[in-house]
Assembly symmetry: C2
Homo-oligomer: 356 residues x 2
């Protein structure tokens, strides 16, 4: 049994729960969770804003902890290892995407870390990382480098790899100019990662108040996106834009800041329709309007190793279990720099465990 | 002086005109025009549908003819050579795009073959290929391979290179699957070119009547885009879509037919806004929604050489000057397979020339 916090209905907010985790099978790793990042997706999912959910639902897909025990066939991990789990805990392992290490695009649908149907485990609904432990197939577990603060690593498992993946896909390197739209959990990681890859970084924000913070994160320039002159001055100056804004916004002014063969990767998913992209914006410079989701498992490990090499972590604010609902309110209000992380030692021990 | 057909106002239709062409300067080639393709852009431009125009306006940017005389510095062309001119006759020659052979994306704006401001020639407005002759800087002239029918080559200078360029940019080769949306001047060339590159081709059309024609052009499969079952059956089966439709249409169903890392290149430019692209369509397979315009000069030559190697030409219907207005009516109605070409021998000789 595991202590947890989750929603019991779309309106319940987060309440203390007890979860039954499966005993590790041959390929499984049982992880004692230390930290779990709070992602905007968690808010949408627990509130049923992205479609009907099975309740109770324990969110959390930015998990860091230590290995408690491993199944008989596990060779890559041993008790005591510090490990991480991101947004998926399984996929079909057979389709072209899975075989290419793009499990996030599994043709048969990857299994989300929470709220997913765990077909290899009797179709149980997966439960996430706001919990004291989790059992995950070792193929979907990554190693956390020893030189990084484990709490500040947690957000890398979603926010980190989600921004790392398109930067790598576009082969960002020294001499490139990367634009980052929005400065939240994803945006602040995009700035750090792009800088570490050697790019110059321009941050777009609607808020003058965010200018000092953007510069502090390493941005070379901050552009107020509602200032038409500033946007015009950025004309044809950027190779790749990482757009992390999850509210509908007009992309056409951003396309004008891209060079020929530039690309804009949208990573946030607004609930309402985006304003239409003018095809002329794309045609006149052969631009690509793209999007992507997290990264594959091998790429997640590559991202962690890259962060270890460059000593990169998320900027976090730690919360205890009893602060989770307040943290959700602050996330929705944009009042966090830049990611909340739950300290799972503050979860109540389940009664059953206390009895054992 | 040159005989020509052009518009004298947005409402005039095409009427006989006489043009004064400049005497060839050192780098110029004077071309006796034999054939000129009729492009949809010509209709929009002469009618002022893409913004205010200077009149008179002689359209035509799919020009094939023979060299009449050359300027003193021209070494690549000699009288009697068969040559072509496409959509541009100049560009700045200094910006990164020009230096990379992407003159169509010239940062200072390329000079269109008609209706463009010819800054190196006193700012005169360029006049196009519905004409008995034209004088063009040799840098913007390409060589027409001897084994191709020159009339059927004319449409390659716009419709050919516009589809060739994204196919090459995406490195289409044997084993790839290319989708083609729309079967007009551009679409029919996209089918031929993609097949010649070794790809399998699926044509999307709204019209059951076009199925036999698509198969005759070489399509491996024809999908009726309004048939939801047929669209569902094409799920995740295509690497690259060349979309040639210039009317607003919903792209989201097409994205579902693309494989991971697939791309859709939009080449037609609707006058009204397109329905919004759902970013989720892009994110769930890391797709790119792109667009491009024609091709560079070197790429245009490469396209012609490719067509010579594969014996590829446009399917054309020849028209005489007095049939131009009727041909425009039929183009707007979609009643052409697949490109009209003007036989410039049917232009009236200018009175001045007759006097000489």
């Amino acid at each position: 049994m595991a202590a947890a916090y989750g929603a019991v209905s779309a309106e319940s907010g987060l309440v203390p729960l007890t979860l039954a985790r499966r005993a590790p099978k041959a390929d499984d790793v049982e992880i004692a969770i230390e930290f779990c990042g709070l992602c905007h997706s968690d808010v949408h999912a627990t509130r049923g804003e992205w479609g009907a959910q099975n309740y109770p639902l324990v969110p959390g897909h930015e998990i860091v902890g230590t290995v408690n025990r491993v199944g008989s066939a596990v060779e890559d991990f041993a008790p005591g290892d510090r490990v991480g789990v991101g947004c998926m805990v399984d996929s079909c392992r057979e389709c072209d995407s899975c075989l290419e290490g793009l499990e996030q695009y599994c043709e048969n649908g990857m299994t989300g870390t929470y709220g997913g149907k765990d077909s290899r485990n009797g179709g149980a609904i997966t439960q996430g990382g706001y919990s004291s432990s989790v059992v995950v197939d070792s193929r979907y577990v990554v190693r956390v480098p020893a030189n990084l603060d484990p709490a500040a690593v947690a957000p890398l498992l979603c926010a980190g790899v989600t921004t790392f993946s398109p930067l790598r896909h576009f082969d960002v390197e020294e001499g490139d100019v990367v634009g980052v739209v929005g400065l939240g959990g994803l945006g602040h990681m995009a700035v750090k990662l792009a800088k570490a890859m050697g790019a110059a970084v321009k941050v777009f924000t609607t808020s003058e108040a965010k200018v000092p913070a953007a510069l502090e994160l390493g941005a070379d320039e901050v552009i107020l996106s509602r200032d038409e002159d500033a946007m015009a001055a950025a004309n044809r100056s950027i190779d790749l834009i990482i757009d992390t804004v999850a509210a509908p916004h007009d992309l056409n002014p951003y396309f004008r800041t891209l060079r020929v063969d530039g690309a804009l990767f949208q990573l946030g998913l607004p609930a309402e329709a985006m304003p239409p992209v003018n095809p002329r914006s794309l045609m006149r410079r052969r631009l690509a309007y793209s999007g992507s989701m997290i990264g594959g498992i091998a790429e997640t490990q590559e991202m962690l190793d890259f962060c270890a090499e460059h000593n990169l972590m998320a900027d976090i604010e730690m919360v205890s279990a009893d602060q989770l609902n307040e943290a959700y309110r602050r996330m929705v209000a944009g009042d966090v720099k830049y990611r909340f992380v739950l300290d799972t030692s503050t979860l109540q021990a389940p009664a059953e465990e206390a009895d054992a």
